[in-house]
Amino acid sequence: MAYIPDTPEDRAHMLAALGIDAVDALFEDLPPSVRLNRLLDVPPALSESELSRHLRQLAAQNRDLGQLTSFLGGGFYDRYVPAAVGALAQRGEFLTAYTPYQPEVSQGTLAAIFEFQSMIQTLTGTDASQASLYDGASAVGEACLMALANAPKRHRLLFGRTVLSQSRQVAETYSRARGAEITVIDGVDEIMGDDVAAVIWQYPDLLGQITALPAIIEKTHAIGAVAIVVADPVALALLTPPGEFGADIVVGEGQPLGNRLQLGGPTFGFMGVKSPWIRKMPGRIVGATVDHAGRRGFVLTLQAREQHIRREKATSNICSNHSLNALMATIYLSLLGPEGLKAVATVSAELAHYLADRLASAGLVRVPRQEPFLYEFTVRVPGSVADLNRHLLDRGILGGRDLGQEDPAWQGLWQLAVTEQRTKDDCDRLVEEVLAWQSR
């Protein structure tokens, strides 16, 4: 009965007011043949102290990133989350509110979403943003649906091979029913056809590359398609944002911005768009307005796009956003500010370049060799990447992703990400273990 306030007297009072003897009377409309005449077969109730012990024990069975040294990336990074993020976002007034349907008592959530939209807009170099999506991959899916809806005669989506495969796979799941067809392309030359709705490119891409983007966008526009860019938000602190290269829609995974990893969720997806796309975005959008006294306030706006108004004609079926995760990102970006975010990206990048140099000396050469990169890069491993990762895990190191699992063309490629949480010592230790593994 945890969390239920009713005493026997309360219950009796209410039953009496209803003129019934037992709650069973309120369930008599259930067809007798399907009523559950037994208790559910679920584990017995625990007191809070027992529950706490049980959960602490389950949690202790996992090796967290305080115990393992991680070089994993691929959209999800072991970045530091300042303590103030949790302290503020966990405040009950934020945590236990719902979608801000009544703006007069929801200005906290609304103002924070407005701030979030502002930050995503400027980070991505676009004209507008919305209140967040479930994650980066579903944001790619939503962006693809926008492009498909915009040009009903175009049904092909061209995905760069170096877009994270999850994003492509979600887009495939989302768009298959609409008759879309996905083609994987390797470069700008493959962008062609008047049936192409959108070209989707990642920046930096899966191998850490960045320089292909302008030409991709230019060609995409040349064939009348929509340029969708999947971006790493921390990298945008240092890189020319996709919007400035002309991207129409910029989406990405928000986890690196103040969100803990949580095995991949909940995090959030973000979306920035150029002006023509504003009224075609999925999800919640917050706008500024004024009240009768002229005081500035914020409201959910452009709701004519949404499912609760438009039903089957909505731009998406999405109802919730990941508001709390977006709030964490907003607090994170406020705490870091422009210089802090740049420093985080720069420290990550300098350690990554140091590591890449040392690995090259150890015979693990970057692929592609000369392409600029920031803090995520790919090397070729002389041998089994899976075997190397096992060797490392035994020594408390989470090695990089085995890109051979992403694409058979990438057998032997090892994707490493370095964050500001890594140290020179961490990098040195990784190299030492790689050498030890080579000489085993």
Partner: protein, 491 residues
């Protein structure tokens, strides 16, 4: 006073949290990236101290209303109390600081928890298999309908249409459309339930599925559900259960036993996880055996003895619907809630939620019109047409409730009820709170005649009064650069 923004606290040169300083160990940006790719433009972020940030968001939190603040009878949203121990659990490093690409062998405790939660949700729903992946109810719907589509396609059955009752949540038709279906609406009968005759008319070989919420959005149990199921199944269609209202039936009846083929649950409703200002939630899907091959990638397989694996080798799967395996932080909370309740507790939840709704309805039924006969389940809908004739719309009543320190019920939904006010007290609110709400509604009903301005100008004590929503939509100001420019041009 205007609602402030963090940008207005910005002061060039201020710094918040101390981050590591570049050491120059391997060059600098100009050494790594060609000029064209080096960002020149402003990041648009505020420059503030941690103190600024803490004060700003503490202040913003004071402008918000949550379940932790008070009564939140938002119909269809099940704003029950969210236990604090669940938040604590979700923050444990062993759950929160694990990378999604870590080998399963490094996270047996978490995977055990997820498997146990899957098992329990299958039992609660009366289904055979569960995927915890969907991030929200609507996401669960999409996953579910895509599975139905794939299941039918696998049988060579290309149906074109999904049926939804006219009282359905907007996500139902939107989902069906997103999954490539045409949508046909089934009208409600005078009892507020699916019109069975109309359903039988619409039900033919083109219909892939009927999406049903039960109890429905009017708070009424679809007491002809077995006939409905039979009708749909006989025509080769499938039955989808929208679990938004599952709080009403926990331990009393199960969708699987009523004939549903696919179910989603909103853990942020029924399983007490906090709504977070609009999310994250979680919308696991549960299916009958026949649909299991179509569940999204990956599936969690294995057990505590032999170890756990992510299974991607599932050729009939609809594919991925998101990155990785779900909103873990929400799932941990839901598991904790499950373990705090047990079977008796879950049944008590439903019974109490239903008792509270009926009791509240009995207290306000004299003053407000309830368009359908009871008993209701966990919520009910009032129609304020009579109040409207007297000069106050449902929105006015809702706004006036804010002055009483309560969050307003859902208004103007479901669409089938005129001037709808949709009230869901939940099982965690006390009788006194319910009485206080009823008293407030009754007083407001009197105020319509005695002092209507009180309603029209409500709310009175909030940082802003009613906002100009038309202006917001007509001239969208969606970011600080635009708002700042606009405010500067005005002043």
């Amino acid at each position: 006073m205007a609602v402030p923004l963090i940008f207005e606290r910005s002061h060039p040169g201020r710094r918040g949290v101390a981050v590591p300083t570049p050491t120059g160990i391997a060059g600098q940006l100009a050494d790594w990236v060609p000029a064209e790719f080096r960002r020149q433009s402003d990041l648009g972020l505020p420059e503030v101290t941690e103190e600024d940030v803490v004060r700003h968001y503490t202040y913003l939190s004071h402008l918000n209303y949550g379940v932790d603040t008070g009564f939140y009878p938002l119909g269809s949203c099940t704003m029950k109390y969210n236990p604090k121990v669940n938040d604590w659990a979700a923050g444990l490093p062993g759950f929160a600081d694990v990378h999604p690409d870590q080998p399963p062998s490094t996270i047996p405790g978490l995977l055990f928890l997820l498997a146990e939660l899957e098992r329990a949700l299958a039992e609660v729903t009366g289904m055979d298999a569960v995927s915890l992946q969907p991030a929200a109810g609507a996401h669960g719907e999409l996953t579910g309908i895509l599975m139905i589509r794939a299941y039918l396609a696998a049988q060579g059955d290309q149906r074109t249409t999904v049926l939804v009752p006219d009282s359905a949540h907007g996500t139902n038709p939107a989902t069906a459309a997103m999954a490539g279906y045409q949508v046909r609406e089934i009208p409600s009968n005078r009892r507020g339930r699916v019109d069975l005759a109309a359903l039988r008319q619409h039900m033919d070989g083109s219909v892939a599925a009927l999406m049903l919420t039960n109890p429905n959005t009017l708070g009424l149990f679809e007491d002809e559900v077995l006939e409905i199921a039979e009708t749909v199944h006989r025509a080769g269609g499938l039955l989808y259960y929208d679990g938004a209202n599952a709080n009403a039936i926990l331990g009393r009846v199960r969708p699987g036993d009523m004939g549903f083929d696919v179910v989603h649950l909103n853990l942020h409703k029924t399983f007490a996880t906090p709504h977070g200002g609009g999310g994250p939630g979680a919308g696991p899907v549960a299916v009958k055996k026949a649909l299991e091959p179509f569940l999204p990638l990956p599936r969690l397989v294995g057990n505590a003895e032999t170890g756990w694996q992510w299974d991607y080798d599932r050729p009939q799967s609809i594919g991925r619907v998101r990155s990785y395996y779900g909103n873990i932080g929400v799932l941990v909370r839901a598991y904790a809630y499950l373990r705090s309740q047990g079977a008796e507790g879950l049944k008590q939840v439903a019974e109490t939620a239903v008792l509270h709704a009926n009791y509240l309805l009995s207290q306000v039924g004299q003053d407000y019109h309830s368009p359908f006969p009871g008993p209701v389940k966990h919520e009910f809908v009032l129609s304020l047409t009579e109040q409207k004739r007297r000069g106050a719309r449902a929105l006015d009543v809702a706004k006036r409730l804010i002055d009483f320190g309560m969050y307003p019920p859902t208004v103007y939904f479901p669409l089938v009820v005129e001037e709808a006010l949709m009230v869901e007290p939940t099982e965690t609110e006390s009788r006194e709170m319910i009485d206080r709400f009823a008293d407030a509604l009754k007083q407001i009903n009197r105020e319509i005649d005695e002092n209507p301005a009180l309603l029209h100008e409500a709310p009175h004590d909030t940082i802003v009064s009613r906002l100009d929503e038309a202006r917001a939509a007509r001239h969208p100001l969606l970011g600080w650069p635009q708002l700042k420019a606009e405010e500067e041009s005005r002043s």
